[in-house]
Subunit: 174 residues, 2 copies
């Protein structure tokens, strides 16, 4: 499952990797737009190294209660202070998923731009919630990349938050 | 004003320029999703040569009642049979718009991938209605391209058609 915010033109980070544009719609009540509810229902997280390092850099407590699996082709170990929170996984996505499923984790939160793209390329994303911020960035890190074949989805629900932000929940049509 | 359908990943035509994916959601009643109402309220159309040639290739009657302005850097004249329907315009977009506005046409339907991109680059799009088909194409002609600066929009309305297709109407925030 993917839960991510994009610009109107499909970017998930601006040209400098920044996320300030996520706040271009005033959100005085700090509405979370379903994020907490989404995170609570996942069994585990799967993210790439970039996203892992970003999360490590956040101020405050470690944000997840569930196990985190970090995909990396380059790292051999995770920094010691994170070893009770996250686990490094290697291999093809199919192998990685088999390993994670065998541990009993089925509802997975797939996060990070390249990781989402890689899962989509192998048609491994069942559910996708896209929250669209009404701004065009023009450049940045795109959510989507090339696919070998079309992927059809079904719209599960469409919501509007703060009168400005459309959130669409899609499920892969199989 | 722009009124256009895109795939979930932002394409307006598939890898072969095709539009069959627009029909991936069954639409037995031929619901037009606001297109007729949109077209009726415009004063004129502005499109690129590619789109013009596509429209010329459609079966049936010429689809527009309003004047059509065709942007082209290469054409010197339009084919004779279209000269009562469309007019060739040249110059910068600002010059072209001045000319069209001077003729009394203010509500303009901007159509065609490259033309929309060029208008967005110069921040000349006031309203944008995007109809999102729940399919990822992975490759094709993108709706969006690079911008020199962020463009903020306001959501005017969000609708769902056929339980599957989200249509968002945005207005440029100035």
């Amino acid at each position: 499952m993917v839960f991510i915010a994009t610009s109107l033109d499909g970017f998930i980070a601006d040209r400098n990797g920044g996320l300030d544009w996520l706040n271009s719609v005033p959100n005085p009540g700090q509405l979370d737009m379903g994020y907490k509810k989404f995170v609570e229902q996942v069994d585990a997280l799967v993210m790439g190294r970039n996203t892992f390092e970003t999360v490590c850099g956040f101020d405050g407590d470690w944000p997840y209660n569930q196990p985190v699996f970090v995909l990396s082709g380059t790292l051999n170990t995770l920094p010691e202070e994170y070893r009770d929170k996250a686990e490094l996984v290697k291999g093809s996505l199919t192998e990685v998923l088999e390993k994670i499923h065998n541990k009993g984790y089925n509802r997975l939160y797939i996060d990070g731009g390249l990781t989402i793209q890689n899962f989509l390329k192998e048609d491994l994303v069942d559910e996708l919630t896209i929250t669209t911020i009404p701004i065009m960035l023009g450049v940045g890190s795109p959510l989507f990349s090339k696919l070998a074949k079309d992927l059809e989805f079904s719209l599960v629900e469409s919501k509007v938050f703060l009168n400005q932000i459309v959130q669409n929940h899609y499920r892969r049509k199989k």
